[in-house]
């Protein structure tokens, strides 16, 4: 779809002229003739893809005609155009099945956010001071080209890095191809709550470096170790859809659900049984259960393939992990472990899930491998009611940015920062896209300091945040509703899926879609970059990538490639109906030796820092990216009912002992820093754990988020899970001090409500 074709400028009418004068001469309001076929007052539902997280849920966008003040062809004006009014899940989509999550529903407020960057910007003040001036796209592109050109020369001594949120689908492929034109270029995907530990563990256990897909709808018994699978983890919509059926819908069957975690999450609140094992001991509990099962000859150690072989002592029946032996470490009574094992054995199909905090310890890999081994023993892999791995769609280019990790061109932000600061790797130019590591990494990683040393930073993101604030040049992207958008869901469906949708509406501001901008840059750069990216537009690239799917049994049948492409757009993607399209398992790495139990390491001596510190993914804000949406700020987090802020969750009894009352301002101190937030007394947290939701405490992230709440990530120790280098965000200890009175904004009161009678009768 060409933007130009829609710009049919009409004469300045009387009404338009009368509306002029919003102060700016340049902002004269001009009426454009719309070329929309929309009928006023009648809604159309168009296909879409949710871009609020990596799950890749297929959407529908309700579009209606409206008057919008926009920027077109160098002028501001009012146009009649299709405007997105409501988002909903796409009922045909195998991942979302007609549903979204709470954050997905709020995606509208990204497009219409008043704090969006509306045109290209160039830094004027000191770096990081947040002073920018508006420039034209020509200037912006010229300036970026001037920085790219020397790096595109063969054997350039210095290089560039592309720091981005993890990009799935063809956007990821495009960026990867773009980088292939620069020697030594690094791709640096960053996300606070990454799942690298689980992906790696799944490769070792099962041969798939991928997040698992759960068949909850056919499951009878689920034990989840710390995974917030109904809230913020993996593919929450797909998992919630399955959960509904797990509980009700199958006559006579109601699946049981047990959650293991030291702080009750939204997911854990739904469990039939909630087990508060000590932080970092979840793997022990999984092996304690496996010990009982092996001892009682439920399943065979030998039949578990490489998953069992990852665990030291597996063949011998895990002699070191008897319920009695692990009890003093896990805090779970031996009878409970034994009973859980018996329940699991009695209720097939049973499934174990692991994710989130248990894997964010220094021993996260052991925990993941332990739960994987338990799943293998339960024979839940690849079975109905168990877990499986979503096949990849057979696209013409490799479908996932992860695929290139093997070529060794991918760095973590931690490595990049180290290399910049040590002078090991000269990075001349940093390209930045919707990743905010300055906000979401522990200060000990020195990301801010490292980025400040990079001579030139160009950002493509939609908002100013703590990281993009450091940019010298900003070339803002369209919003996801204004762009061609695609995703290749890693999990959440039994079949191969690719989500694709054309723009649901035209852009509001003077922005350019990142993929098309990169294609344009490649064209101008020529040489290798151009060869790697021969397409004229992103639409053309998408169409080419999906072309082979026309010959596979799938959701779209068409007589020719044009019709195929049209139908893919209408449907919001393509999904396989080919049962023979099974995922290819890579042979598990045999070099890795069986793992022994490893104690989790915590930063901060227990005597000085008596509490385990648990930052957690926030229901409305996830890792903080949604804190700039007013709907999410006023959305009460369901367990605390807290809005517009951050709080420190503390066990009510512990608080009473320390004479801390609801709302008291607490200082939470780790060896690495301090934050302050009001106390929230809860019965759903272990007495030795202090928890804080992530996502607030932004210094610079628009009018709704800036200067609000506190950022728990800023006091984390720079601990990592050693095999992946992922942040061990649950591996810090803290102490607390009452420092005054704080302010809690709660929807409903806290402690007075406890023990409330059920209201229904």
């Amino acid at each position: 779809m060409k933007r130009r074709t829609f710009l049919k400028l009409s004469a300045v009418g009387g009404a338009g002229a009368a509306l002029a004068g919003c102060g700016h001469q340049a902002e004269q309001l001009i009426r454009f003739i719309p070329d929309e076929t929309l009928i006023p007052g009648v809604a159309t539902w168009k296909s879409g893809v949710c871009a609020q997280c990596s799950a890749g849920c297929g959407m529908q966008v309700r579009v209606m005609q409206g008057d919008a003040e926009v920027f077109r062809d160098g002028q501001f004006g009012v146009v009649k155009m299709g405007l997105a009014k409501k988002l909903a899940g796409n009922p045909d989509h195998p991942v979302s099945r007609g549903k979204l999550c709470v954050r997905g529903e709020a995606g509208l407020q990204v497009t219409f956010n008043p704090d969006r960057i509306k045109h290209p910007l160039k830094r004027t003040g000191l770096r990081g001071a947040g002073q920018f001036t508006q420039i034209s796209w020509d200037e912006a592109v010229q300036e970026l080209l001037a920085h790219l050109q020397p790096l595109a020369a063969p054997q350039a001594a210095v290089s560039l890095a592309f720091l981005t949120r993890p990009l799935g689908g063809q956007r990821g492929v495009l960026v990867e191809r773009f980088l292939s034109g620069f020697d030594g270029a690094r791709l640096v995907p960053f996300e606070l709550f990454d799942d690298a530990v689980l992906r790696t563990a799944n490769r070792r256990s099962f041969g798939y470096e991928q997040l698992p897909t759960f068949d909850l709808a056919h499951c009878s018994y689920v034990i989840s170790f710390g995974a917030d699978f109904l809230g913020t983890w993996n593919s929450p919509v797909a998992q919630s859809v399955g959960y509904g059926t797990l509980r009700q819908n199958r006559s006579g069957i109601r699946g049981k659900f047990v959650q293991v975690e030291p702080r009750m999450s939204q997911t854990g609140a739904n469990a039939d049984e909630w087990v508060a094992a000590h932080p970092g001991t979840e793997g022990l509990l999984a092996l304690g259960i496996a010990h009982v099962l092996l001892k009682e000859h439920f399943g065979h150690a030998e039949a578990t393939g490489s998953a069992g072989m990852q665990i030291d002592g597996w063949r011998e029946g895990l002699p070191e992990y008897s319920p009695e032996a692990i009890a003093w470490k896990t805090g779970v009574a031996p009878e409970t472990t034994t009973r859980l094992a018996h329940e699991i054995a009695a209720q097939s199909p049973a499934l174990a899930v692991v994710g989130g905090a248990p894997l964010a310890h220094t021993n996260g890999m052991f925990t993941a491998l332990a739960v994987n081994a338990l799943n293998a023993l339960l024979d839940s892999v690849g079975k109905p009611g168990g877990l499986q791995f979503t096949p990849r769609p057979p696209l013409s280019t490799s479908g996932s940015a992860q695929d290139i990790s093997e070529e060794g061109k991918v760095d973590s932000i931690r490595t990049l920062a180290q290399q910049i600061l040590s002078g090991q790797r000269p990075i001349e130019l940093l390209l930045l896209y919707e990743a905010n590591p300055v906000f979401a990494t522990p200060p000990g990683w020195q990301v801010r300091e490292a980025l400040e040393k990079v001579p030139f930073i160009a950002s493509f993101g939609t908002f100013i945040d703590e990281t993009s604030r450091l940019a010298d040049l900003i070339l803002p992207d369209h919003s996801s509703l204004e762009s061609w958008i695609d995703a290749a869901p890693e999990s959440g469906a039994a079949e191969a899926v690719i989500s694709v949708a054309p723009p649901a509406m035209r852009p509001l501001h003077d922005t350019r879609a990142l993929p098309d901008l990169l294609l344009d840059l490649a064209r101008r750069l020529g040489g290798r970059t151009r060869q790697a990216l021969p397409w004229k537009s992103y639409e053309e690239m998408l169409q080419a990538a999906l072309a082979p799917l026309a010959h596979h049994p799938g959701s779209v049948s068409a007589k020719d490639s044009d019709e195929f492409w049209k139908k893919v757009q209408e449907q919001g993607g393509w999904w396989s109906t080919d049962a023979s399209l099974v995922p290819k398992a890579k042979a598990p790495a045999d070099s890795s030796r069986p793992m022994k139990n490893q104690e989790p390491q915590f930063a901060g001596p227990a005597a000085e820092y008596p509490f385990y510190f648990l930052p957690y993914a926030s229901q409305p804000f996830f890792d903080g990216r949604h804190a700039n949406l007013p709907w999410m700020q006023e959305m009460p987090e369901v367990l605390s009912t807290g809005m517009w802020g951050t709080w420190v969750e503390i066990n009510a009894r512990t608080a009473a002992t320390l004479q801390i009352e609801q709302g008291d301002l607490l200082e939470v101190a780790s060896p690495n820093g301090k934050v302050r937030a009001p106390a929230l007394l809860s019965p759903g947290i272990a007495p030795d754990v202090i928890a804080m939701p992530a996502g607030q405490g932004h210094e610079d992230y628009g009018r709704y988020a800036s200067g609000r709440g506190a950022n728990p990530i800023k006091i984390l120790a720079p601990q990592v899970e050693p095999t992946t280098g992922s942040l061990a965000w649950a591996g810090t200890r803290v102490n607390i001090t009452k420092v005054g009175k704080g302010e809690l904004v709660l929807l409903t009161g806290g402690p007075t409500e406890w023990g409330a009678e059920k209201v229904t009768r």
Partner: protein, 233 residues
């Protein structure tokens, strides 16, 4: 043809995910107040999820219950309104005529479910957030009481569509925004006058209850109680 629109909410499916709340905001042009007003209890959530704690650590549980206007057959909010802004329409819904409302707030005081929300200020949408507003739903001003309408605009649109096609509204055809969005399908909407509708069938469940039923308000929101598969109880 008149209907008796009702909603069933299965508390055994509801996970407290709050998707329904965000969907309701988007559909019904509900204003965001701000931190200060929210702290005074003025946040407007036509549907919100109540959380009840039971027990003490470690034997603690939380229960969730989405609460919206219960669309009572014997609605305490209606007789107290001096201007008939709160009234019963022919589909049995508790409707609110915004331009009759003079802001006495009697209805909110009378509602035992605290399901009514008062506009203390004119709503603000920082430009261009207002472009998202749903033209099918009127925007309320300061001094007006508002609440869940069962997405009446969707009911009306579906009825008009069915009439134009010379047919009855199908069971499940009307989906309020919350029902449409709920990932676990905890919510079902339909006609209680149709004994074969899904809501009618679910309303006959052994688990069916209503909120504060002892008050005799006869709500048209029916809850199905959460079950438990206890291993240790």
């Amino acid at each position: 043809m008149a209907h008796r629109w009702a909603m069933v909410i299965d508390l055994d499916r509801c996970t407290g995910c709050e998707t329904c709340m965000a969907a309701c905001h988007a559909e019904n042009n509900i204003a965001t107040v701000d931190a200060k007003q929210a702290a005074r209890g003025r946040a407007m959530h036509w549907i919100h999820v109540e959380r009840y704690w039971e027990g003490e650590f470690p034997n603690v549980r939380a229960r969730f219950q989405p609460v919206l206007c219960q669309q009572c057959d014997a609605a305490p909010c209606e007789p107290v309104c001096p201007t008939y802004a709160a009234y019963h329409n022919e589909d049995g819904l508790n409707a609110q005529v915004y331009n009759r409302c003079i802001g006495t707030r009697y209805c909110a005081n009378a509602c035992p479910y605290t399901a009514r929300y008062f506009n203390w200020w004119n709503p603000v949408w920082d430009k261009p957030l207002q472009l998202q507003l749903n033209p099918d739903v009127s925007v309320r001003e300061a001094g007006i009481m508002e609440k869940c309408t069962f997405c009446n605009q969707r009911i009306v649109a579906t009825e008009i569509q069915a009439k134009a096609e010379n047919r009855e509204v199908q069971d499940g055809e009307v989906k309020p925004a919350c029902v449409q969005s709920c990932p676990t399908t905890a919510m079902v909407f339909g006609d209680l006058d149709d004994p074969n509708s899904q809501v009618s069938r679910l309303a006959r469940s052994m688990r069916a209850t209503t909120l504060l039923s002892e008050l005799g308000t006869n709500p048209k929101v029916i809850y199905l109680e959460r079950e438990s598969s206890h291993g240790n109880d």
